[in-house]
Amino acid sequence: MFNWKEFEKSKNVLSMVGDAFYHEENGQHHVHIRPKNLINWIEMIRDDLGYLTLVDLVAVDRSKFPSKYPYGLELVYHFLNMGNHQRLNIHLHFNEDEVVPRINSFYPHADWMEREQAEMLRIQFDSPVAGLILPQGQSQFPLRKSARIGNWNLEVPPEKPHIRINPNKSEAPYPEESHVWKKFDVFSAETMGNFDWMVCFDPASVIDSKVRIGLHHQGFEKLLESRSWIQVLQLVDKINLGSAPTYATAWARTLEDTYRIKIPERAQALRIVMLELARIAEHLTVLAEVTLAAQKDEFRFFIDAREKIYELFEKYCGHRQGLGLISIGGMRDDLPYGWIIEYQAVNEILLKTLKTIHHSLIGQRHFRAHLEGAYVDAQTVLQWGVSGPTMRAAGLNFDLRKSQPFYFYQDIDFDIPVGIYGTSYDRYLIRLEEIFQSLRIVTQVIDNLPLGEVSHSDFGQVLSEGKVPESVSGWHFSSLESSNGEAGFFHLPSPDFSPYRVKIKTPGFSLAQAVPYFMKGLSENQLRSSLASLGIRRWEIDR
């Protein structure tokens, strides 16, 4: 668990190093450096200080206020130390003509993040970077402050038609006759509409695959820059519609942490309830997808059970998936009369039926055979920066609800299930167990629900009086444990009550990047169920 003694220790270490300006804010370390020192710093923090995960990487164009800020661009690397639960931000300041070293040889999962930022903001890295999300031949850089949306000139070079002489003979680096590349596009059932997927079979099992994303990109981060904080709260629900309150809570918590607003106890408790219900709904969706992919009829019962959770949301706020529940500084409404009794009925039904469905499923050999593959070990998981149930299935015991507890999580009794082998079967079991743990959490919270009001007017005062505390200098990253991994927001506020730059950290992005490394050795009919067990959502990949 996070504690301030460890924080002071690492603060002493970090502030001793020369060539850097150090400051701390909101329980996170911030270090400001120039590009020539970057590689030294990365080596030091990875090998000596144990920051093994690069959580997110965000670049920003600071040219809007040139008098305040001398450098044109800024790159922020956000690192997490899972051992002592410290978070470190490395801010890299540079001008447009300077070259930035790549760090993907130290952190492999930095690859996609760097490519995304480079094509969104025109950053010159020391080795050439290929495009990731935008269409080919793109000459605009959408996240620049000077870029306008719409009327872009697409200069696509004319493509020569690619004719295969021998359709069975595949391309390098697998040139043998027996190796076959198959393409699963966005419309195929295997990818569930997430991305384009080229898979190489030696004809029975998978030996390599390539993922192409960017098919759902709509410039969501650019859109949020032109909206105010309250409007952003309504729009972020859309990132994962199946469990809407998750991202709204994450966004509200980012602002409340930045401006040190304490929300009332009843609102904290209700937020925990809604987060856990959203987690149950999302897990049930994934379980249904896995079961459907394994061609079992039981998937209908998971969908029915999810419907019960959605009914609870609907009775609370009017929308089935729980949209617009959260307001900044608390909750929108109090619980309606009779909601708690409804919940208890749902709790009883879920406890009774889920066990039966589960026992019936795992007794079937066919179902187990579908989930046997996709073996993931802990090293691969750490290498690709994956979090959530996928990480826990590989045997790593790390959960943000335990390690950096917010609201009442440290007072609640619950367990974190940890897998043994890291297969898709482990992921299935972990998701099922987490549903029971979430029900346990909600029941405990509802039994001890605090009384009082559900929202503070503090934030309204901050907005109306235009008072922003002086201590707030800039970047803040806050995240919480969503159903598929760590989800959160990087936020740089601007003086007109809207985000200057907001970066959404989603678990799906790093999961999609790791898919080729997780899916090795599978047969073709296992692909769909293994991919479904990861829980990748399309809006999370392309923000």
């Binding site: 309250i230 039981e298 029915d304 009775k315 706020c317 039966t356 026992h359 007794g363 167990e433």
Partner: protein, 125 residues
């Protein structure tokens, strides 16, 4: 907490048979009643929706308030999806853009906007 090791073991023929029998009970009438799907009920019986979704924002102010530029234009700037258009004569809300978030009602000056009971958001049969 490490997962229950029994889940990794092989199931005997008897327990597999027993579990499938339990499952058949679940699909039978007795417990299936608790799983009422409104998907199956829908054409014959309308499902209960809470007031928030049933309502949609509506302009209830006077024409003076409409011509007062500062008050009415506030709703237009508040709407996250730009569903509201305000002119000197009319106050227009685009149903296709509205996500019924309620911001325009919540933050507008009192007496200007209301969540009306007009349920045209859901097309009832």
């Amino acid at each position: 907490m490490i997962l229950n090791r029994n889940y990794y073991a092989k199931f005997s023929f008897f327990s597999a048979w027993w579990n499938s029998r339990q499952m058949k009970k679940l699909t039978g009438e007795k417990i299936f009643k608790s799983f009422k799907l409104h998907k199956t009920e829908w054409p014959y019986k309308l499902y209960f929706y809470s007031p928030r979704l049933k309502r949609r924002p509506r302009f209830v102010g006077t024409s003076e308030q409409l011509s007062n530029w500062k008050e009415a234009i506030l709703c237009e700037t508040l709407c996250p999806t730009h569903a509201i258009k305000v002119t000197a004569e009319a106050f227009h809300i685009d149903d296709r853009g509205c996500i019924t978030c309620g911001l325009c009602v919540e933050f507008a000056p009192p007496g200007l906007m209301e969540m009306s009971a007009d349920s045209s958001v859901i097309h009832q049969s």
